[in-house]
Symmetry: C2
Subunit: 476 residues, 2 copies
C-alpha cells in the first residue's frame, strides 16, 4: 500500500513507480540477482504462454517450422557482418572459460541468431527446391543492459525469432510484410493493442538489415513502445554466410533473408497500455484468470456453489479461479484481483444463492450487475468479448487523442512532450538526431497506411522524404 | 547410402554409426559450431514439441505452475551447497566479460536451476500458507561435455525442471514420487518406452540430493539410458538458501525441496528404443507426421484425391503429410519416409482410386493392405493406436529377453555384456566401482516394484543391501 492507502502509486504521479509497483505487487516478475535479469513469476509467465500459443499457431499456419539453434555462438561469426557486429558488440556476454579451462576461441551468448542460423542455412540450402526456408525459434537471448527495466529492457529476455531464406527480394519482402501482419493482428486481436505498423527510418534500422518494419504502440504516459519488428536483410547475411542456391537454370544465386521477433517486452506493453491507478488490467485473451469467483461467507453450501460455477465456466472454455482463501475478507480479495487485472469478478453470497444469481463486476467499464446463475455460460463469455473490445477501443481512443499532425516546431515540441507527433521530415539522420537531442523524441515509424502527402521538414524546413508523415514520440 | 545400398549402417554392424546416421539423414539434428552443441532441426524439434505438450499438460494438471528464472547465475550461488558445486564445477561455462567490460563477479550459465530458484523461493515463502510451492520451468541449460553425443550428451540441452518446496519430508517425498510417476507414464504412454522406475544407489545420486529416483530404459543395443530423474533434496538446498516458513504454531521451520527433469535426450532414447536397420521408427504420439500420403502418378485427379484424403484425416485429428514432390519417384519417397520413421504410409494410384481404395503400409509389423477410402477415418486412427501398442510391446519383450537375474559373477559378466543383470549387491560404493571397472556396467536403479528378496553380493559375497535385486547395465 502507498501512504494514502492506494495499492499502487497513481500513474499521473509517477508512471515509472506505478509500473514497477504493478509488476511486483501483481506478482508478474522480480529482479534477478545478475544485473538486468528478471525472474518471470507464474502469473507473468502465464501471460507469456497465452501470447506464445496465439503467436505460434499463426506462425505455423503460415508455413513456418520451429527449430532450435545453439545458445553459444563462436565470437567470430558475429564479425562476418560488419554492421551486425558493430550493433551488438557492446551488449555481448562472453564465455571465456568452460569445462574448467580457458577456451581457445571465446564464444558469445546469442544476442540474436542471424549468424548461427545463417551458417546452418548455408549448409541446408543448395537448390531452389529448398526455398523458401521458413524457420522460427522460441528462445532466450542475452544483451547486456546498462539501464534495465523489467520486461522492457532486460539483460536476458524470451522471444520468438523467425528466420527465413528466399530466392529473391520480392519473396523475401512478402515474407517481411507477412510477419508484420501477424504481429499487427496478434497485438490487436489478442493484446487489445491498436498498434501502428510502419517502416523504421534508416537511423533506426536493425544492425545488418536493409529495411526494418515495426509495430509501434502507445503507452498510457504517451510514450511509444516498439512491440515487434520484421527485417528484410537483403543479401547481407546471405553473402556473409554463403547462403546460395542453384536456380532452375543451374546458376548459383544468393538468397535474400528476413528475420522478425516479438519478445517478453509485450508483457510490459500490455501493462502500460491497459493498466490504471488500481493496477493491472488484462485483456481477456491474455488473462491467466478471466474470471475470479469470490465466495462470500464460509458455508459449505457457498463453497460448493462456487465450485459448481467454476466447473461450468471451465467447461464453457473460460479460465476461472475460485478464491477460497479462508484468511482473507471478500474486500481484500476484490482489491487484490483488481490489482492483478482480472477482467471479471463473480461474487457469490448466501442471498445471491437464494435468488439463484451472482453479482458480476467488471474490472473497468461496467457497473456491478446481478446475473442469473443459469445464464452464466452465455453471459460470461459475452462479457469477456465485450471487455476485450472495450480495451481495444479505449486504447485506440487514447492514442488518437494523444497524436497530433503538426507542421511547425512549436507544435511538434508540444505534441511530442506527452504524445505522438505526425510530421513531415527531411529524412536526414543528423536532423533526426537534432530532434532527439532537443525533445527526446525519435522517429517511431513511417506508417504503412498513412496517406501520401508532401511538405517541409518540421525541424529544418527542407523538403520532406518518405512521401508521407512520420510518427515521432518519446519511446521505451 | 552405405556401400551396400542401405540407407544406414546396420545396428548390428555399428550401433553408434547407425545412431549418428539416422539423426543426420532423418534430419533430426546437426552438430553446432561450438563443441558439443546441437542444432535441432524442424523434424526433431517437432518430436520435442509433441513430448512437451504431453508433459506440460500433466505437470499443470497436478497443480504445478510454469515460471522462468534467469540463465545467468552468480558463481557464488553454486558454492552454497557443497556437493552441488563439486558435482557441477567441472562442467560450467563461465561468463567473465559482458557489456564490453570484465565483470566484477563471474556469472555462470545455469547447468541446472536449484540455486537461483532456491534463492527466489527463500524470498517468496514466509508462511505455511505459501506451501507447497510447485514450480516448473522449460529452459535450456549448459554443461560442458567432453564426449558429446547428439541428444544424449550435449553441451546445451533443453528440458523442463520442476522445483518444489514443502512443509515436511513426507510431502516432499510424495511430490518426488508423483514426478517419477508422470515420467513413467509419459515414457510408456507417449514414447512407447517401458521404463523401469527405481531409486539410484548413493553413488549415482544427483549432486546435492538426499535421494534420487530415475526411470531407466533399455536401448536396442542392450544399454541403459536414464530417461528422467526426480530428486528429494531433503533440507540441503533449503538450508543453503534459507527457504523457511512460519508453521501454524508460529515456529520457523525449514522447507524440504525436490527437483525433477526430463530433457531432449528423450529424443535419443526414442531413436534407440524403436529404430531398426531401415532407420527411425516413431511412436505415433510423437510422430510429426503419423501418416504420409504418396500419390502415384502425376494426374490432377490423383493430386486432388490425395489432398482430399489428407484433409479428411487432418479433420479426424491425424497428423498427415502429402508428399507431392514431382522430382522424386514413389519408391524414393517410400525409402525416405521409412528412414524418417513415419508409422503409416498411404499409397494412392489411379487403380486404387478407381477402386475407391488405397494401399496402407505399416513402417513395421504389418503387411501392405488395401483399405477402402470411405473407411479411412476409422481405419487410420485405429492402426495408429495399434502401432503405438505394438512398439511398446516390442520394446518390453526386447527388454525382458535382455534382462537376466544372476547370482554369480560369471553370469553377471555375461548378462551385463549385452543387456541388464538383476543382481544382489552389498551397497558399498567401492564394490560398485569395482564392478564398473571390470564390466563397464553401473547400478542403474533399485527398481521400485521388484519383489523383496535377500541374497549375497554378486561381486563380493557380502550380504545384500536394498532388500531386493539391483539392475546393472552399461549405460549412455
Amino acid at each position: 500500500m502507498t501512504k494514502d492507502g492506494r495499492a499502487v502509486t497513481a500513474q499521473s504521479e509517477d508512471f515509472s513507480a506505478w509500473y514497477n509497483e504493478v509488476i511486483t505487487r501483481a506478482e508478474l516478475a522480480d529482479r534477478g540477482p545478475v544485473r538486468g535479469t528478471m525472474v518471470i513469476r507464474p502469473y507473468g509467465y502465464r501471460i507469456w504462454e497465452l501470447l506464445q500459443e496465439e503467436l505460434d499457431r499463426r506462425i505455423k499456419a503460415t508455413g513456418h517450422q520451429n527449430a532450435y539453434f545453439p545458445l553459444l555462438v563462436p565470437a567470430s561469426y558475429l564479425d562476418r557482418e560488419a554492421e551486425h557486429v558493430e550493433g551488438f558488440a557492446p551488449e555481448l556476454a562472453v564465455v571465456t572459460h568452460a569445462g574448467g579451462k580457458e577456451l581457445e576461441e571465446s564464444v558469445v551468448v546469442r544476442p540474436t541468431s542471424e549468424t548461427i542460423i545463417g551458417e546452418m542455412m548455408s549448409r541446408w540450402i543448395s537448390s531452389h527446391r529448398d526455398l523458401p526456408m521458413l524457420l522460427n525459434q522460441w528462445a532466450n537471448v542475452v544483451r547486456w543492459e546498462l539501464r534495465p527495466r523489467t520486461f522492457l529492457r532486460t539483460t536476458e529476455f524470451l522471444w520468438q525469432e523467425g528466420h527465413t531464406a528466399h530466392a529473391d527480394a520480392e519473396d523475401a519482402m512478402r515474407e517481411t510484410m507477412l510477419a508484420l501482419r501477424i504481429y499487427t493482428e496478434v497485438a490487436r486481436d489478442v493484446a487489445a493493442m491498436p498498434v501502428v505498423p510502419g517502416e523504421k527510418t534508416p537511423g533506426e534500422r536493425f544492425a545488418g538489415a536493409a529495411r526494418t518494419f515495426t509495430i509501434e504502440s502507445m503507452m498510457r504516459d504517451g510514450k511509444a513502445l516498439q512491440a515487434g519488428t520484421s527485417h528484410y536483410m537483403g543479401t547481407n547475411f546471405a553473402r556473409a554466410f554463403g547462403i546460395r542456391y542453384a536456380a532452375e537454370d543451374g546458376r548459383l544465386e544468393t538468397c535474400h533473408t528476413t528475420s522478425w521477433g516479438m519478445t517478453t517486452r509485450m508483457i510490459g506493453a500490455v501493462i502500460m497500455t491497459h493498466g490504471d491507478d488500481r493496477g493491472l488490467v488484462l485483456p481477456p485473451r491474455l488473462a491467466p484468470y478471466q474470471v475470479v469467483v469470490v465466495p462470500i461467507g464460509r458455508g459449505e453450501e457457498i463453497a460448493a456453489a462456487a465450485a459448481r460455477v467454476a466447473e461450468r465456466l471451465a467447461a464453457a472454455g473460460v479460465r476461472v479461479h475460485v478464491d477460497d482463501r479462508p484468511q482473507h475478507s471478500p474486500g481484500y480479495k476484490y482489491n487484490e484481483w483488481e490489482l492483478r487485472g482480472v477482467p471479471l469478478r463473480l461474487e457469490l453470497g448466501p442471498r445471491d444463492l437464494a435468488a439463484a444469481s451472482a453479482v458480476l463486476a467488471w474490472r473497468i467499464g461496467g457497473e456491478k450487475e446481478n446475473v442469473a446463475l443459469a445464464d452464466l455460460e452465455e453471459i460470461v463469455p459475452r462479457a469477456l468479448d465485450e471487455f476485450q473490445d472495450l480495451l481495444l477501443r479505449r486504447a485506440a481512443d487514447f492514442r488518437a487523442a494523444a497524436t497530433s499532425a503538426v507542421d511547425d516546431w512549436a507544435g511538434f515540441r508540444a505534441a511530442a512532450a506527452d504524445g505522438w507527433a505526425a510530421a513531415f521530415h527531411c529524412g536526414e539522420a543528423a536532423c533526426e538526431q537534432q530532434i532527439k537531442a532537443e525533445t527526446a523524441a525519435t522517429a517511431r515509424c513511417v506508417p504503412n497506411d498513412a496517406p501520401e502527402a508532401e511538405g517541409t521538414c518540421v525541424r529544418c524546413g527542407r523538403p520532406s522524404a518518405y512521401g508521407k508523415r512520420v510518427l515521432f514520440g518519446r519511446a521505451y
